[in-house]
Amino acid sequence: MTLLDHLIFFPVLIPLLTGVLLLLPPFHERLKLQREAVMASNMAILIVAILLLIKSVGEGPQIYMMGDWQAPFGISLVNDVLASVMLVLTAILALAAHLYACAGEDKAGAFFHPIFMFQVMGINGAFLTGDIFNLFVFFEILLIASYSLLIHGGGKQRTQAAVHYVLLNLAGSTFFLFGLGMIYAAFGTLNMADMSYKAAQLDPQNIELAKSGGLLLLIVFGLKAALLPLHFWLPKTYAHTSTPVAALFAIMTKVGIYSIWRVHTAIFGEFGGELANIASAWLWPLGLLTLGAGIIAVLASQTLKMLAANLVIISAGTLLITLAMNTQQATAAGLYYLIHSTLLSAAMFLIAGVVQEQRSQAQDRLVRGRAISQPMLIGSFFFIAALGLIGMPPFSGFVGKILILQSANSALAASFVWPLLLISGLAAMLILSRAGSTLFWRVSGPAPQENKASPLQVTAIVILLACSPLMVIFGAPLTELTEMAAAELHKVPVAIVEGTL
């Protein structure tokens, strides 16, 4: 075993150690040092994630048994293409969100930097784990960090949003455990690869138990991913939290989507025998309705942050539809769209934050107000992010939507997916052009000189926005990557006891 074999654990280990270190005396209460430490560790995570991606593409999936306990009893970390793509995405997002926070928002409350690190640790762990109970543990880590990040800075609205978010997620965690109990009782294992192998030859008397467990897990992941009746917490939570936290939270709904891939595509997927595709029947109507609800909500948005939050619901609905289709092509398209929508919704939150700061009284409400200090710069950022989110060429939203439309290839699927997806683009275009013209053109007075965006904020937005054209320029290798990830997810399960996956 060389150090490179242990690399898989580093995306969890680096933020853990940095987070703990920041709580200790040499770093404690020294803001500049804390900022630099987190920046360094974010860079390190990004490098490790890229190395892992190269490794998983070159050598196929790797399994790391924690403490060298043997599968299927030991806890495994699995690095395949899907996991490492998500790691790279998280690393880029965390880097940008943290840069933005360093412009001053981290001073609003204590312990921002350590909690930020624990948040990253939880997200990375959830992407890497190959054990479903460990998925629960990492969920809890990312949740408890997100609870604290959410109320960072305090304030009435934030506390109220946090109460809803925390109580809902605590109930969700309990259901997660109920689901896990049923699944363990039915499968006798918690290793996800082992479960997907056993699903097809399950004892008939355990089938119903496994089904109920699987669907309970769908409720939990649906709560995270903003599936229709469970999405009402999202707009308020995202709109009222501080800007960098909202940007980082753009990945949180995607953790739910990712877990549905891991559980309902890989375990209860097409090779599940009697358990095959149990989620599809629910995801079809609920996914379409989520998209519909997102379209209505986005048209009714009153502030730019609320608008960005409602766009997250639209992207969640779109992704849930690709999950419902549950074909390899749809999964690949969904992954491309997921990367694009995470980066651009985060960018939109950051832009909304800058607008909010520069318009003083009017904040980010979509009403006539005073001019913002840098109308050209922020205006063009807004324009690029909007084009991407609507799905207009030449940005990544266009490619993502085309891929999804292509994967809805049966007549029935197309008749539902095409109109809704296209209408969602239209709705986004309507509201974003209204928002843009109100914020940047319907202004009173010339642009003031004070209160300019700091270079850190601009860099953060540029990093996120630059990904969009890059995703188009490198579209061919990226779609190859997503297809590879989808192929691994849809492969025939192999018995784990015979060694590797």
């Binding site: 809890e140 609870y147 605590l170 109930a171 455990l177 896990l180």
Partner: protein, 126 residues
């Protein structure tokens, strides 16, 4: 024994769900605590109930599945931390929003005995 156990877990779960559907943070936190008790018992049973069986090989003739016991231990620790957090947050919300209603609204005190509207701190949610 299975039936008795199942009824007990079911009763606790029912109580928990009833309480989390109430509109006041204190009741909801109590409900979550009850639910986490229920889920711990439920997890414990997921390895099937065994009488007189240690979770260690060779100590007794039959042995119990040790994995659910490890899971319950983890779940207890996590549930404890989460409940503590929820309690503190509920207290914070009580002082920030000047009432303990989950939506922060004062007018929904319909089932409390003649409570005077919370306007001591002049909240905006009247």
């Amino acid at each position: 024994m299975e039936i008795l156990y199942a009824i007990c877990v079911g009763a606790i779960t029912t109580g928990g769900i009833f309480l989390i559907l109430r509109g006041y943070t204190f009741a909801v936190v109590l409900g979550l605590t009850l639910l986490s008790y229920a889920v711990n018992l439920f997890l414990f049973a997921s390895g099937r109930l065994v009488i007189n069986g240690a979770a260690i090989l060779g100590e007794s003739e039959t042995y119990a599945d040790p994995l659910p016991q490890a899971l319950v231990l983890t779940a207890i620790v996590i549930g404890f931390a989460m409940t503590a957090f929820a309690l503190i947050l509920a207290l914070r919300a009580r002082s920030d929003l000047a009432n303990d209603q989950v939506d922060g609204k004062t007018e929904i005190h319909d089932d409390l005995p003649n409570k005077v509207g919370d306007n001591r701190q002049g909240g905006t949610n009247k």
